[in-house]
């Protein structure tokens, strides 16, 4: 297996990583093996990308972390999942949110019939103080001023970009230590993608919040993250510092649209299979 470098993730002061998956395997409907032993780590304050093509198992990996596999009849059949040193696998999704990890679903999935303001309120814990709610809401509006302007329209009528912002803002209301974003660039213009990625980076830097970004858009993702994992066919095939991955010829070829464009279909497919999937 080709691993771009053996440089370990730079360890901060904490002894254990914030999130650690080891050898996680997920089976859907008891028959379909979607991810086949994924291991990855995120340190406190790190921003990481999980890259890969369609069907590589990126979303499944996120759902195994947030616990949202059950509604799709998915089950973690093997492996361990530790968050802040705590075993997450037995916990329900709301308990995992309370523990400090939140999942922004692919395709936004905001509460369409609620106003943006009510979307934020719905995500705020029942027992939190009113004052904390207002602080968090103001913070979300500072990061995404456009939401404030439209705070009282039905969210279903917001534009795609605004809905994505709302989905992220809604997740911030749970005061997470780790925010996981599933394809936030989906269906958005490149300019908007850049804007949203910059805001995510800003949140990461200002709040020290760890970010796990799942993307097909590798170019945009590698430009903002510290570290990335490449997922193919349910396996991690490569991982490394974003800067290193950007220079890697295989990554350039397969994800960044580098060399090897002639006879795209056959060559790319064949070479990728040969190198990674054999």
């Amino acid at each position: 297996m080709l691993t771009s470098s053996n440089t370990a993730v730079p360890l901060r002061d904490t002894a254990q990583p914030l999130l650690e998956l080891s050898n996680v395997e997920v089976v859907y409907d008891r028959v379909f093996l979607a991810i086949k032993g994924v291991s990855l780590k995120i340190e406190q304050g790190q921003m990481i990308a999980l890259l890969g093509s369609n069907g590589a198992g990126k979303s499944t990996t996120l759902k195994s972390i947030s616990g949202l596999l059950a509604p799709e009849r998915g089950l973690v059949t093997r492996g361990n999942l530790w968050f802040k040193g705590q075993d997450m696998l037995p916990l329900t999704p709301p308990k995992r949110v309370a523990a400090g990890l939140v999942h922004v679903l692919e395709g936004r999935r905001i509460f369409e019939h609620l106003t943006p303001e009510d979307n934020l309120l719905a995500a705020f814990p029942l027992r939190g103080s009113r004052q904390r709610y207002q602080e968090l809401r103001e913070q979300v509006f500072t990061y995404f001023p456009r939401l404030k302007e439209r705070a009282r329209t039905k969210s279903g009528y917001l534009s795609g970009g605004e809905q994505q912002m709302l989905a992220i803002g809604r997740a911030l209301m749970t005061e997470p230590d780790l925010i996981m974003l599933d394809e936030p660039s989906l269906g958005l213009s490149p300019l908007l993608v850049q804007e949203i990625f910059e805001i995510i980076r800003k949140i990461n830097e200002e709040q020290g919040m760890s970010v796990l970004l799942v993307e097909q858009n590798a170019t945009a993702a590698l430009a903002v993250v510290d570290y990335a994992y490449l997922l193919e066919n349910g396996h991690v095939v490569m991982s490394g510092e974003a800067a290193v991955l950007r220079e890697n010829p295989d990554v350039q070829e397969f994800y960044l649209g580098g060399a090897g464009k002639v006879d795209y279909l056959n060559v790319k497919h064949y070479r990728r299979r040969k190198r990674w999937l054999a």
């Binding site: 509604p71 949110v97 609620l114 009510d118 719905a122 995500a123 279903g156 997740a171």
Partner: protein, 295 residues
């Protein structure tokens, strides 16, 4: 044409309609929080009425205490229904859930009279039975109280859905997976909505039980209640109020004039027509939400 007769029919129809709203409210509370159309609400109203009767009539507790005990009992009954029946249905097609509530309806309709006897029990809420007479118009006092309670419950529900808990319940009805993803316990939200439907069933059961006696026929209130929620919109609390008035008034005025000509029974025809016409011409009701299509 006798104008006074029309006014009397309208006022009493409106009050009856508000009492239908009381039954319909339980259906909307559950739909609005969990997206489940609860066809067992008629039977829940009957069970609630039996409970009030057991406490007040059989055991002789003062009526207010009996009502309170019934409220607690029905709240628990609703929560348990969710815990042991609905929770098993998560992820199943909605038709299975509808069938389940329908099955529950039949089961309860059998169990209540089966255990307590089929003869109607009279339920005395201690209300003055004398009609109120304004000019020459007679207004049924029980219906007036029932109507006011109906309006008050609708008002309370509106306020409730603005609270933090209420907002979470609305979020759950909007999207289960998203709710889960931001830490809302969908199961608990749905259980609470069934508990609230249980509470509204006590209000409905006590009023209707007092008006027409407590027996299995209370479950037949499901029919006008369904007309109310379809006309008003399955997820609209305002809709319950307005549609309740419309169904009540039409169901009183039209039979008032037509019944003598055809020999009775037009009220159910009116109710059915309301259901049919709404579904044909405005499927999501007057205030019900349409699925948002972004342009």
């Amino acid at each position: 044409m006798d104008f006074q007769f029309l006014i009397e029919l309208t006022i009493n129809g409106a009050l009856t309609g508000l009492m239908y709203s009381l039954v319909a409210l339980g259906i909307v509370l559950i739909y609005k929080s969990s997206g489940v159309p609860n066809l067992a609400q008629g039977a829940m109203v009957m069970i609630a009425a039996y409970l009030v009767w057991i406490f007040a009539g059989l055991l002789g507790t003062p009526i207010l205490v009996a009502l309170f005990m019934a409220l607690v009992g029905m709240f628990l009954f609703g929560m348990l229904t969710e815990r042991f029946l609905l929770r098993k249905m998560v992820g199943q097609p909605i038709i299975m859930v509808v069938m389940l509530t329908l099955g529950l309806e039949s089961l309860l309709r059998g169990i209540g009279p089966g255990l307590l006897g089929a003869a109607p029990k009279s339920l005395d809420l201690g209300l003055d039975m004398m009609p109120i007479i304004i000019g020459d118009v007679f207004i049924n006092r029980e219906y007036l109280v029932g109507g006011l309670i109906g309006a008050a419950m609708v008002g309370l529900s509106l306020l409730f859905f603005r609270t933090r808990l209420g907002t979470k319940l609305r979020a759950v009805s909007d999207n289960h997976i998203s709710s889960w993803s931001v830490g809302i316990s969908v199961e608990r939200a749905v259980a609470i909505s069934w508990g609230l439907a249980g509470i509204s069933a006590v209000a409905a059961g006590a009023m209707w039980g007092s008006v027409q006696g407590v027996d299995w026929t209370l479950t037949a209130l499901l029919f006008p209640a369904v007309a109310v929620v379809i006309l008003g919109g399955l997820d609209s609390i305002y809709g319950v109020l307005i549609a309740g008035l419309i169904v009540g008034i039409l169901g009183s005025v039209i039979p008032g004039y037509v019944d003598p000509l055809v020999g009775g029974g037009t009220r159910d025809v009116v109710t059915s027509l309301i259901i049919l016409l709404t579904i044909m011409f405005r499927p999501h009701g007057i205030f019900g939400r349409e699925d948002i299509e972004r342009v």
